[in-house]
Symmetry: C2
Subunit: 159 residues, 2 copies
DNA sequence: TTAGCTGCAAAAGGTTTGCAAATTA
DNA sequence: TAATTTGCAAACCTTTTGCAGCTAA
């Protein structure tokens, strides 16, 4: 269920990604199937982050015979493999992306306009260190999007 | 929709809370109703944080005639008033609590056992400062629960 | 009296599941 | 061949909404 950090994956190269993932699947006695391949191609070709529904649409564009539930199952299987990771947005659906080798990036979501932007994960190093020291809590700063007001909205927002 | 910081509220005293909130509602031409009162009593009497469904149950125990949808509308109305705030948990439903006077607390959720614990919001001061300086992003650190591994789970977890 | 609310019922949005048939290795 | 996965359909869960009637102030 939970993503386990993986060796770098060719996140932007559909063919190479499929190949790399196929090897990992086989190593576990699992299979590379049409839905899984389509999901990987969709995530390697399209926008960095996509909701399950975005993936369903992108997959449908490739192959209309792939069922919605298979996309959900593929997303789950690939996440379990450590190939995909997801980010929870407070307001809005979970988004998926090809796993980042390192700690990944911070996701900043504006609570007003909903826009999400990335930021270096090391910005949270101080926080992570304090949480570890004070509570023994190992922060995974890229698993949920941080909420706040983006610069644009902060201008017009009351606070 | 978004909570606006409010003056301190008697979060643990049902009667006092209802009284304080009634005044705020009236000041806006709104009303203290049976569902709203029940929601406030439930949140002031029960656990600090509760999901909408937890509140529905607690309210039902007080008065079975209050409808589920009224609880949702009461939670929304009281949030709009600034009396309640909510926290998004990555895995799991949104939880509601009586608004904290200051920046509130950080919520740390273990991705393994799901347990949530609080921590001082100022632990994120460094991060908030950097996000503001680098991106003009005003972090609301208590609006979403941070994800990671709690101390107990970190012992048995691979990483 | 009269907005502001509620209760009800139905819909909506997102995700999951049981199962027989298809497919991968 | 044999185990893994899929397609389909239905179920689920949480939240939202239209509307007529109720009720707080």
């Amino acid at each position: 269920m939970e993503p386990r950090p993986a060796a770098p994956l060719p996140a932007d190269d559909p063919a190479a990604l499929v190949e790399a993932v196929t090897a990992r699947l086989h190593a576990r006695g699992e299979r590379m199937t049409k839905p899984r391949r389509a999901v990987l191609v969709a995530l390697a070709s399209g926008p960095r982050h996509a909701t399950a529904d975005d993936v369903v649409e992108a997959v449908a564009a490739q192959d209309a015979t792939v069922h919605r539930s298979s996309v959900y199952r593929a997303l789950e299987a690939l996440s379990r493999l450590g190939v995909l990771q997801h980010v929870h947005l407070g307001h809005g659906a979970t988004t998926y992306h090809v796993a980042q080798p390192d700690g990944g990036v911070l996701h900043l979501q504006c609570r007003r306009c909903g826009h999400v932007r990335g930021a270096p994960a090391d910005l949270a190093a101080d926080l992570a260190g304090r949480l570890a020291a004070d509570y023994g809590f190992r922060l995974d700063s890229s698993h949920v999007a941080l909420s706040g007001l983006c610069a644009a909205c902060a201008v017009t927002a009351p606070r």
